[in-house]
């Protein structure tokens, strides 16, 4: 994999395509798609990598058909510490490897595989009981498996503690040795004083910290919808030259008959996504509540205006 990112799409690497100023489309949500297909409440989504690989293939195929060029693995919670909370840490290797294999079967070389890695689920010392060295070592083990299984980039996602995000990025850089890009995104909330993570990191600190740790693409995912994400994107663009990735939620969910409804329709989402590009995004996709329909329309709008 020279220059990073496997022989996807038109055969050029992610790094080349970003350097050329292309706008790339990523997939939408995975978790909410799994729930829509029957993932029970409270079950670790990663168990489906072994029990329902065909469902993961189906979701990946739908995103590929919708035009996504980056498709994520179902490994957001597959770090050893997070899996331990479900008593699944002994199965970490097969849970990660099977997730990559399912996406590869579905997309072949038609899209880049985004090796997803989320927070470890515990607070770092001194606020919580997680030892930073152990957290970093845990991420490293997971990422080595993802890299070995053939992902085209590592994506550290939904981080709210910059210290933990930096540990994950450092682990990713060590695991990839520069062969494939490392992406890192954090989740911000709007306050009267601007955007902060719940741990109090602002966008300037996040951009500087993630870049220093070795992330090649930075940005934000999840949150309250695309309107706030456009503001977050503008703030990122003002403080960094790095390529930016944004994956907003389809708004906040409301509950109807115990079912979740995300209110931002594919039409609204796609329309506003152009502003996300104007704000400086290089890679755009969706987080919770977004579907293949969101991505299809998003792609049509973005590629039409490019």
């Amino acid at each position: 994999m020279n220059g990073g990112g496997g022989p996807a799409a038109n055969g050029r690497s992610i790094r080349d395509r970003l350097r050329a100023g292309e706008i790339l489309i990523s997939d939408g949500a995975l978790g909410t798609e799994l729930m829509a297909r029957g993932l029970p409440a409270g079950e670790a989504p990663e168990t489906w990598n072994l029990s329902h690989p065909e469902v993961l293939e189906e979701i990946a195929r739908q995103y590929l058909e919708a035009g996504a060029e980056l498709i994520a693995t179902n490994t957001f919670g597959a770090s050893p510490m997070k899996l331990a909370a479900y008593g699944l840490d002994a199965r970490m290797e097969e849970l990660n490897a099977s997730a990559v294999a399912a996406v590869r079967r579905a997309v072949g070389t038609g899209a880049f595989i985004f090796g997803s890695c989320g927070p470890c689920g515990r607070l770092l010392e001194p606020y919580g009981d997680a030892d930073p060295d152990r957290v970093r070592a845990g991420f490293l083990v997971q990422m080595r498996i993802l890299v070995g299984a053939g992902v085209d980039l590592i994506g550290v996602e939904t981080m709210t503690d910059l210290r933990e995000a930096v540990l994950a990025v450092q682990a990713a850089v060590e695991a990839t040795r520069g062969a494939i890009p490392v992406v890192a995104t954090m989740t911000f909330e709007r306050t009267r004083r601007g955007y902060f993570t719940i741990m109090g990191n602002d966008i300037g600190a996040a951009a500087a910290g993630l870049a220093a740790a070795g992330a090649e693409v930075i940005g934000s995912n999840c949150g309250k919808g695309i309107e706030e994400m456009i503001e977050v994107a503008r703030e990122f663009r003002a403080v960094t030259e790095l390529p930016l990735l944004f994956q907003p939620n389809a708004g906040l969910p409301s509950v109807e008959d115990d079912r979740l409804v995300y209110r931002e329709t594919p039409e609204v989402f796609a329309e506003r996504a152009r502003d996300l590009v104007h704000a400086g995004a290089s890679i755009i996709g969706g987080c919770c509540g977004t579907t293949p329909d969101h991505i299809r329309l998003l792609r049509a709008k973005i590629k039409a205006s490019a």
């Binding site: 409440a41 409270g42 001194p126 606020y127 919580g128 109090g200 969910p253 409301s254 115990d258 979740l260």
Partner: protein, 210 residues
């Protein structure tokens, strides 16, 4: 500076050791334990709660302040028990079944204790029957439930239903919170209150049982 003000200030700064030693000093100086609790620890925690709500400080600051508060409480607890100081009220709290997210729930528990309530914290992944049994066993008049996941929030309805089934509705009231829930959802499942954040939860609890 008056020692109780210093306790409050050191607590705001998250100075665990000095809150512990200042509390011991205040006890040695003969101040009433209830006074130290109210005008030292709780006063400090109230400021922390206000600043957190206004986003002047963030989660790490609150967690360090909580550690400092517990350091002071450890000194006071035996004396409060000896004096038979009544708590403001008893609350059972937990994250609902299937959900392992406890940062928000822990924050609410910390601030409730800081406000003088007795908190029975059941942890996370709490089955509906455990909430109800804990309330019955302890005589708590309120159950607080937290969920971060849209997939687990529906377990809250099981608790309100179980309370109704056992004829406890109204005797044991319920308050819910967490990212995916809302006031509408509380109404829909028959919960008595909804809080949008930790500080709001304390306010609502005070209105309900304080």
């Amino acid at each position: 500076m008056e020692i109780l003000q210093r306790i409050a200030q050191e607590l705001e700064l998250g100075e665990v050791d000095s809150v512990g030693s200042l509390t011991r000093e205040a006890i040695a100086a003969g101040l009433a334990p209830k006074e130290i609790l109210d005008r030292g620890l709780i006063a400090g925690m109230n400021v922390v709660g206000d600043k957190f709500r206004e986003h002047e400080i963030f989660l790490p600051d609150v967690l360090m302040a909580a550690k400092a508060m517990y350091a002071g409480m450890d000194e006071l607890k035996p004396l409060l028990v000896r004096d038979g100081t009544p708590s403001r009220g008893k609350i059972v709290i937990g994250t609902v079944q299937g959900d392992l997210h406890d940062i928000g729930k822990n924050l609410v528990a910390i601030m409730l204790r800081g406000a003088g309530f007795e908190v029975i914290d059941l942890g996370n992944d709490v089955a509906p029957a455990r909430f109800v049994a804990a309330a019955k066993d302890s005589g708590a008049s309120l159950i607080g439930m937290s969920a971060l996941l849209t997939t687990t929030m529906t377990a809250m309805r099981k608790v309100t239903a179980l309370l109704a089934e056992e004829g406890l509705k109204g005797k044991v009231r319920t308050i819910i919170g967490g990212a995916p829930v809302s006031a509408e959802y509380a109404r829909e499942i028959g919960a008595d209150a909804y809080a949008y954040d930790a500080a709001n939860a304390i306010q609502r609890v005070k209105e309900m049982i304080g």
